[in-house]
C-alpha cells in the first residue's frame, strides 16, 4: 500500500518489520506501547509528569478488565 495513504508512518519512526510484529502482539493483549504514551504526553502535556512504566502497565491492565470491556464467545 502506498505510504501516502498511511499517515501513521509518521507515528512509528522505527517502523521496521520486527517492530510491526511486536506492535501487533501487544495489540492482541491490549498492552499498548509505553514509549508511544511517553511521546504523546511530551507532545500534548509537556508540563505533566507521566506515569512510570509499571504504573502505566498496571493502569492499562486494569482498563482491559474494567466496566465496559467485553469478551467474545
Amino acid at each position: 500500500m502506498p505510504s501516502a495513504r498511511d499517515p501513521l508512518r509518521r507515528l512509528s519512526p522505527t517502523g521496521g518489520p520486527w517492530r510491526r510484529v511486536v506492535d501487533v502482539a501487544r495489540a492482541l493483549i491490549g498492552a499498548p506501547d509505553y514509549e508511544r504514551y511517553l511521546a504523546h504526553q511530551a507532545a500534548h502535556h509537556p508540563g505533566a509528569v507521566p506515569l512510570d512504566r509499571a504504573a502505566f502497565f498496571a493502569a492499562r491492565q486494569a482498563a482491559r478488565f474494567a466496566r465496559g470491556a467485553t469478551r467474545c464467545c
Binding site: 495489540a27 492482541l28 474494567a66 469478551r71 467474545c72 464467545c73
Partner: protein
C-alpha cells in the same frame, strides 16, 4: 495497477472460486480434498471484501477518510490512540475470535460438510461481516460508545434498558455453555485435567513476575509461560500414566462443574493482575498461534474430507443435536457466520484506536472474514475424521450405549461403518481411555487437529501430545472467557441493580462486588449443572439456546444499524442491513418457537417436561433421574429453559417495535437525525 489487469485478476479469482465451489458442492461418492473447500472460501472472501464490502462502506455508510475519528479528535495516549490499521486488525481479531467459530462448525458437521460451508460463506458475507463493519462504523462516529449506550441514545431509554437485560441473559447462557464444553472435554481425562489445572500456577507465577519483577515486560513473561505450558502438556502424559497420580486428576463431570463454578468466582473477584490478566495473555497468544499453525498445517497436509457432503441427518434426526436443517443449522453455526457478540466488541476498544474511517472496512469486515476462515478450518478438522469416530464422540450415551461394541453397532446401523477396534484404538492413540460420548465439540476438534498436526510432525506418542495440546488450547481460552465474562456479567448486574439501589453501582464496594459476582456465577452455574446431568449430554439443550441468543443479539444490533441508516437518510441502502436482520429474525423465532413448543421431546422443552410429568404421574422414574425428586428437577429445568427462550424472544420483539417506531419517526423528518459526533452530517 492498470484497471484492466486489476479486473482480470479479480475475474480469475472469481472463476477459480466458482470452480472450487462446484467441486465442493457437486462431487459425490469419493472423498473431496479439503483444499477445494479452503480455496473456494478464500476466493469468496476476496471477492466479497473487494466488491461488496467496498460498496457498503463507500455508498451505504458514506465512509469519509477526511473525517476525524475519536482517536484523532481526542487522543489521550491511553484509550484513544490512533493506531496502525494492521495493529488494530490484530487487536480486533483477537477480541472477536473465541470458541464459538470452533465449536459450532464441529457440531454442524453431523449434517455433512456442505450445509455448514454454504452457511458460513453466505452468512459471513451478507450478515456477519456487514454487522461487524456497520457497528464499528457507527461506534466510531459516536466516540467509541457501547452498543447499549448507542441504542439508548438513538432508540430511547426503554429500548436501552431492554437491550441491557437481553445482553446480560445472553452473557449468562454463553458462560454456561462454554463452561460445559470444558467440563465435557476434561471429564474422566487425567491428562487434560492436569494440563489445564497447571495453567493456574503458571498464570500466578506470570502475574507476580509482571507485577514485581519486570513490570510491563509481557513478551518475555509470555514466552516463559508458553514454555511452562508445553512442559505441562508433556507432564500431563506422565501423570496420566502413573497409577498413583492419575486417579487424583480423573474427575467426574459433576465434580469438575463445581470446581469450575468455585474457580470462576475466585478468579473474577481476585485482582486481575494476579490471575486473570496473565492467563489472558497466555491464552491469546496460544489461540492466535495455534490458529495460524492449523492454517499452515492444513495447507501442507491437504487432507481428504471423509464426512459425506450431506448426511441423512438433515431431516432433524441427528444424534449430535436435534432439529432439522432449517432453522437449527443456522443457529448451530453462530459465530463463524454471524455473531451478535461481535457488536459488543466492535463498540468497545476497537473504535477508539481507529486512525481513519478508511480503515473500517479492513478491520470490521476483514477481521470477520478471518473468523469465518477459522470456522471453515474447524469444519475441515471435524470432517477429516472417520464419520464413525465423529459420531461416536458426539452422540450421547443414551443413544450409543457405554461400550465400544454397542457404539459401533448403533453407529453402523445409521450407515457409518465403524468397528469396536477402531474406536478403542483411536482412544489409545490419543492417550485417553475412551472416546465415546465426548460431546461438546472440543474433543472432536482436538482429534481432528491432532490428526492434521500429526501428519506434519509425527512420531511415537505424538498424536496423544497433539490431542492434549489442542485440548489445552481450547480449554485455556474458553476458561479465560469464562473468568473475564463473569467479571463483565458482574458489572452488568451492578448496573442493573444500581438502577434500583444506586450504591450497588460502585465498582470499589466489596459487598456489591461479591453479591453481583455470586449472582452471575449462580446464573451460569445453574445452567452448567443442569447441562452436566442432562441425559442427552447437555450440549443438546444449551448450544441451541446459546445459538438462538447470539443470533438474536446480532438481530438486535442489525435492527439498530437499520434505524441508523434510516436516520442518516440513506434509505436506499437499507436493504443491506434489513436483509440479514429479516433472515436472523425468521431463523431465531422459528428456532425459539420450536425449542419451546415442538412435539418431539428431543427438541421441545415443554414436550420433554410432559414426558417426565406423565411418567411422574404414573409413579415411574425415567433415566437419568434416580428418584422422583430428580424427576421434578428435570421438569423444572425444562420450564426454566422454555422461560429463557421466551424472554429472549420477548426482548427481541420489544427492540423490533422500538426500532420500527424510531425508523417511522425519522422518515417523516426531512433531514438526518442521527446523533453523531465530529463533523455531524447536516449540522
Amino acid at each position: 495497477m492498470h484497471p484492466i489487469v486489476h479486473r482480470m485478476l479479480f475475474g480469475i479469482v472469481a472463476l477459480a472460486g466458482a470452480i472450487c465451489l462446484g467441486v465442493v458442492a457437486l462431487r459425490r461418492g469419493e472423498p473431496v480434498n479439503a483444499m477445494w473447500l479452503v480455496a473456494a472460501s478464500i476466493a469468496v472472501f476476496v471477492i466479497a471484501f473487494r466488491f461488496y464490502a467496498r460498496y457498503v462502506a463507500t455508498h451505504a455508510l458514506g465512509i469519509d477518510p477526511a473525517r476525524l475519528t475519536p482517536a484523532r479528535r481526542r487522543p489521550d495516549g491511553m484509550d484513544y490512540v490512533a493506531t496502525d490499521r494492521h495493529v488494530v486488525f490484530g487487536h480486533h481479531f483477537a477480541a472477536i475470535a473465541g470458541a464459538g467459530p470452533l465449536i459450532g462448525p464441529v457440531l454442524a458437521a453431523q449434517m455433512g460438510y456442505l450445509p455448514g460451508t454454504l452457511w458460513i460463506l453466505v452468512g459471513v458475507v451478507l450478515a456477519g461481516a456487514v454487522q461487524d463493519m456497520v457497528i464499528l462504523f457507527l461506534s466510531t462516529r459516536r466516540d467509541g460508545r457501547s452498543l447499549g449506550d448507542m441504542i439508548r441514545s438513538e432508540l430511547g431509554n426503554a429500548a436501552g434498558g431492554v437491550a441491557m437485560v437481553g445482553i446480560l441473559a445472553i452473557m449468562i447462557i454463553l458462560l454456561a455453555v462454554l463452561a460445559l464444553v470444558v467440563v465435557k472435554a476434561l471429564a474422566q481425562s487425567p491428562w487434560g485435567t492436569f494440563t489445564v489445572a497447571m495453567t493456574i500456577p503458571v498464570a500466578l507465577l506470570m502475574g507476580l513476575y509482571l507485577r514485581y519483577l519486570r513490570p510491563g515486560r509481557v513478551g518475555e513473561v509470555s514466552l516463559l509461560g508458553l514454555v511452562l505450558l508445553l512442559a505441562s502438556v508433556w507432564l500431563g502424559g506422565v501423570v496420566a500414566a502413573n497409577p498413583a497420580w492419575a486417579p487424583l486428576f480423573t474427575l467426574e463431570a459433576k465434580t469438575l462443574a463445581f470446581a469450575l463454578i468455585g474457580y470462576g468466582f475466585i478468579a473474577s473477584v481476585l485482582p486481575v493482575w494476579l490471575l486473570l490478566a496473565p492467563r489472558d495473555y497466555l491464552s491469546t497468544f496460544l489461540k492466535i498461534g495455534t490458529i495460524g499453525l492449523l492454517a499452515i498445517a492444513i495447507f501442507i497436509v491437504a487432507p481428504d474430507l471423509r464426512m459425506p457432503a450431506v448426511t441423512r441427518f438433515i431431516d432433524g434426526s441427528g444424534p449430535v443435536w436435534a432439529g432439522s436443517l432449517f432453522p437449527f443449522l443456522f443457529i448451530t453455526i453462530a459465530c463463524g457466520a454471524v455473531s451478535g457478540f461481535h457488536s459488543l466488541v466492535a463498540s468497545g476498544t476497537t473504535p477508539k484506536m481507529i486512525a481513519s474511517e478508511a480503515d473500517i472496512r479492513y478491520i470490521g469486515y476483514g477481521a470477520m472474514l478471518m473468523e469465518a476462515f477459522v470456522a471453515i478450518m474447524a469444519l475441515v478438522a471435524a470432517c477429516v475424521l472417520e464419520p464413525g469416530v465423529y459420531f461416536a464422540m458426539n452422540s450421547p450415551t443414551a443413544l450409543i450405549g457405554g461400550t465400544v461394541e454397542s457404539a459401533a453397532q448403533a453407529i453402523s446401523s445409521w450407515g457409518f461403518v465403524v468397528t469396536p477396534e477402531m474406536l478403542a484404538s483411536t482412544a489409545r492413540d490419543i492417550g485417553e481411555t475412551t472416546i465415546l460420548s465426548r460431546t461438546g465439540g472440543a474433543p472432536t476438534l482436538a482429534v481432528g487437529m491432532a490428526e492434521i498436526f500429526n501428519r506434519v510432525i509425527s512420531g511415537e506418542g505424538m498424536l496423544a501430545f497433539w490431542y492434549h495440546y489442542a485440548i489445552l488450547f481450547e480449554a485455556l481460552f474458553i476458561l479465560t472467557t469464562v473468568d473475564a465474562g463473569t467479571r463483565v456479567g458482574r458489572f452488568m448486574i451492578q448496573d442493573l441493580l444500581g438502577t434500583v439501589h444506586a450504591p450497588f453501582r460502585q465498582t470499589e464496594s466489596w459487598t456489591a462486588n461479591l453479591v453481583a459476582t455470586a449472582l452471575c456465577v449462580a446464573g451460569w452455574g445453574y445452567f452448567l449443572y443442569a447441562g452436566v446431568v442432562d441425559p442427552l449430554g447437555g450440549i443438546n439443550t444449551l448450544w441451541p439456546l446459546f445459538g438462538i441468543a447470539n443470533q438474536m443479539l446480532a438481530a438486535m444490533a442489525l435492527i439498530f444499524a437499520t434505524v441508523c441508516l434510516v436516520k442518516m437518510k440513506r434509505e436506499r441502502y437499507v436493504w443491506i442491513t434489513l436483509l440479514p436482520t429479516t433472515w436472523l429474525l425468521i431463523c431465531t423465532f422459528t428456532a425459539g418457537w420450536q425449542k419451546i413448543f415442538h412435539a418431539n421431546p428431543r427438541i421441545g422443552f415443554l414436550a420433554h417436561a410432559r414426558t417426565y410429568t406423565d411418567a411422574q404421574a404414573a409413579g415411574e422414574v425415567l433415566a437419568p433421574a434416580q428418584s422422583l425428586a430428580e424427576m421434578q428437577r428435570i421438569i423444572t429445568n425444562d420450564y426454566v429453559n422454555a422461560s429463557l427462550a421466551t424472554l429472549f424472544m420477548g426482548v427481541v420483539l420489544a427492540l423490533l417495535c422500538f426500532g420500527i417506531r424510531a425508523a417511522l419517526v425519522a422518515r417523516r423528518i426531512p433531514v438526518p437525525t442521527v446523533r453523531e459526533v465530529g463533523h455531524a452530517i447536516g449540522a
